[in-house]
């Protein structure tokens, strides 16, 4: 007897193909999101907000309604959508160049307003789509195309810690940084994103998940080296953890 143990989520397009580089983290996260939307049975009630960067082509992957946003503005577009359609499930999918750099003001204010939306921010510490320039989250010493000698604090300052800052906003209900470096981490990332989705579904406030993800092409590493780089280097600067969970008390 055959048992189906693995299938394509309904929330991913049947003829959709990920366009990411080998070893890139985006595909794993998009699949987790699709699985969860299926699990919550939200496919017919979801409006996804894309952003600018490698995170832009949501309509090519998701079997969901998608609204586009200019660079950094997807939390605003999401706000407009959610306020008009409060019964719909609305999330933004952004990178660190989008949510933490050009659009961090929008991210913070969306959190402070406690908008009932969810942001998934992929942090690969660089502008991936434009070829690997330094972003706000780039590590000190990290070599990018705009910091060829490594990020020097005296010239370009220090990395921005998005999840830590967003956790300080009163309107944030849940905020975590996760990684997808191994199976255990992927399961934990899914758990965190599930929790973030639940916050929105229950109307408890803004939820923000930062996912550390590999960008082997722009890091000039193999996929395996990239995973090790996240574990050994990036996690020491951008540590994993749940920074805010307003339901933590009741769960104890």
């Amino acid at each position: 007897m055959e048992t189906l143990v693995y299938k394509r989520p309904e929330s991913l397009l049947k003829d959709g193909h990920f366009t990411f580089c080998p070893g890139c983290g985006h595909g794993v996260i998009l699949r987790i999101i699709a699985e969860l939307i299926d699990e919550f049975n939200l496919q017919k009630d979801t409006i996804a907000i894309s952003s600018v960067g490698c995170s832009i082509f949501l309509e090519k992957f998701f079997n969901l309604d998608v609204a586009g946003a200019s660079h950094g503005r997807s939390p605003c577009v999401a706000t407009g959508v959610k306020r008009c359609k409060p019964d719909k499930f609305v999330f933004t999918y952004q990178g660190d160049g989008d949510a933490a750099t050009i659009g961090f003001n929008e991210t913070i204010h969306t959190a402070c307003r406690g908008e009932h939306i969810t942001t998934i921010m992929i942090n690969n510490t660089n502008f991936g789509m434009t070829g690997g320039q330094a972003s706000a989250t780039t590590l000190v010493g990290q070599v990018t195309t705009t910091t060829p000698a490594g990020r020097k604090p005296e010239l370009t300052g220090y990395p921005l810690h998005a999840a830590e800052i967003i956790s300080q906003c009163d309107g944030t209900a849940y905020c975590a940084r996760v990684a997808i470096t191994d199976t255990k981490n992927i399961m934990q990332a899914k758990k965190a994103i599930k929790k973030a989705f639940e916050m929105q579904i229950k109307g408890l406030g803004y939820s923000f998940i930062e996912v550390l993800a590999a960008c082997p092409t722009n890091w000039h590493m193999t996929p395996v080296e990239s995973v090790k780089h996240i574990q050994n280097v990036i996690e020491t600067v951008h540590p994993l953890g749940v920074f805010k969970d307003i339901t933590a008390q009741e769960n104890k």
Binding site: L58, D65, V66, S70, T79, C84, K85, H109
Partner: protein, 360 residues
């Protein structure tokens, strides 16, 4: 319904509410802050959405979010604030997102001042955002017309799935005069064919402004420009004020239009054949109609509170049919009926002399 004494900015806000505006997203800036204040007071009581956004970038992008769901939404700002919205206006035209933007112009460039001006004609009409696109721009000259055109703005935005700008200035925003609201007179189109509300019993759809496949962006732009042709055919509007037999025709938009009328009346009293051609839609610009007027006139005098911006569209419409003169002030400098009358007198005498000399 009786006339009420109402301030321009508040009239626009109340008209938006009457038009069914469900959401207002804005950021304060003089001389239009009363619009946001009025909305902040009234929309929550009606169960509608009011947000003071973190910036004009945010407010116009919230309008985009609302617009993608087919919901009537509006923002308002002034000059330097509208400048921050240009990226989003371009994106709205590309993704075909409806929305209403009220621009109450102040003095510029830069932070300029808070005095009335009309120097954002180029900003509204000639882009500022990237790419080939057009915003429908409506220009009220009285508080009554501000109400009527606010109604029309909401309708046109949905009808053509395009941003519509109500281009007012600080004079109109701040002045009080009697006006009648009446009822929203339009029947709006069904949005269910394109709006986003979740892929329920239909395939997933999207409203986006990135179109990468080869040829796709050109094809889409051509389609959108065919739509603009329709807008021009159906919606071009202007006011004819005594220009049928006029030798000297004034052109003016917005609040200058009403000042010009006073000057026209005085010139008529003194036997000068002067009229006014006042575009009400700035895009679509009534170029064919203005050309017809220019064919019969001896001269056009364009009046604006800027250094000559609509002037380019006037010249393009006139296309050499008669001489075009310009008279304007900017950055808070105002044109009075007296000043316009004196300019009319000066130019009209040159026309009389030419006629006498047989060099018409």
């Amino acid at each position: 319904m009786a006339k009420v004494l109402v301030k321009g900015n508040e009239a626009i806000a109340q008209a938006a509410i009457n038009a069914g505006c469900q959401c207002y997203f804005g950021y304060p800036i003089t001389p239009q802050s009363e619009i946001g204040e009025y909305m902040g007071k009234h929309l929550p009581k009606l169960g509608r959405v009011f947000i003071t956004a973190e910036s004009e970038l945010a407010s116009i992008n919230m309008v985009i979010g609302a617009g993608t769901t087919g919901t009537k939404a509006m923002t308002s700002s002034s000059s330097c604030g509208i400048a921050l919205m240009q990226e989003a206006l371009s994106a709205m035209c590309c993704a075909q997102v409806p929305g209403v933007i009220v621009s109450v112009m102040r003095g510029g460039p830069g932070l300029g001042n808070i005095a009335p001006a009309q120097a954002d004609y180029f900003q509204a009409l000639k882009g500022g955002g990237n790419g080939d696109y057009k915003i429908i721009v409506l220009s009220p000259s009285t508080v009554q017309e501000a109400i009527d055109l606010t109604y029309r703005a909401f309708h046109l935005a949905l009808k053509y799935r395009n941003p519509v700008m109500l281009l007012a200035d600080g004079i109109l925003g701040q002045m009080m005069e009697p006006a009648e609201f009446g009822e929203y007179p339009y029947k709006d189109p069904d949005v269910s064919e394109w709006a986003l509300d979740g892929a329920n019993n239909r395939p997933a759809r999207n409203v986006v402004s990135l179109h990468m496949p080869e040829g796709a962006m050109e094809e889409l732009t051509n389609e959108i420009f065919e739509k603009y042709e329709l807008v021009a055919q159906n919606e071009t509007t202007y006011e004819d004020y005594k220009f049928a037999d006029a030798k000297l025709v004034l052109t003016a938009f917005g609040s200058v239009g009403r000042v010009a009328k006073a000057a026209v009346d005085r010139a008529r009293e003194e036997g000068m054949k002067v009229g006014l051609f006042r575009p009400i839609t700035l895009f679509p610009f009534p170029d064919k109609d203005l050309n017809k007027v220019a064919q019969k006139a001896d001269m056009i005098l364009d009046l604006e509170l800027n250094k000559g911006q609509m002037l380019l569209d006037v010249r393009s419409a006139v296309f050499g049919a008669c001489p075009v003169e310009f008279y304007g002030r900017t950055a808070g400098g105002l044109l009075t009926p007296d000043m316009i009358f004196n300019k009319i007198k000066e130019l009209y005498s040159t026309l009389e002399n030419k006629t006498q000399a047989g060099v018409r």
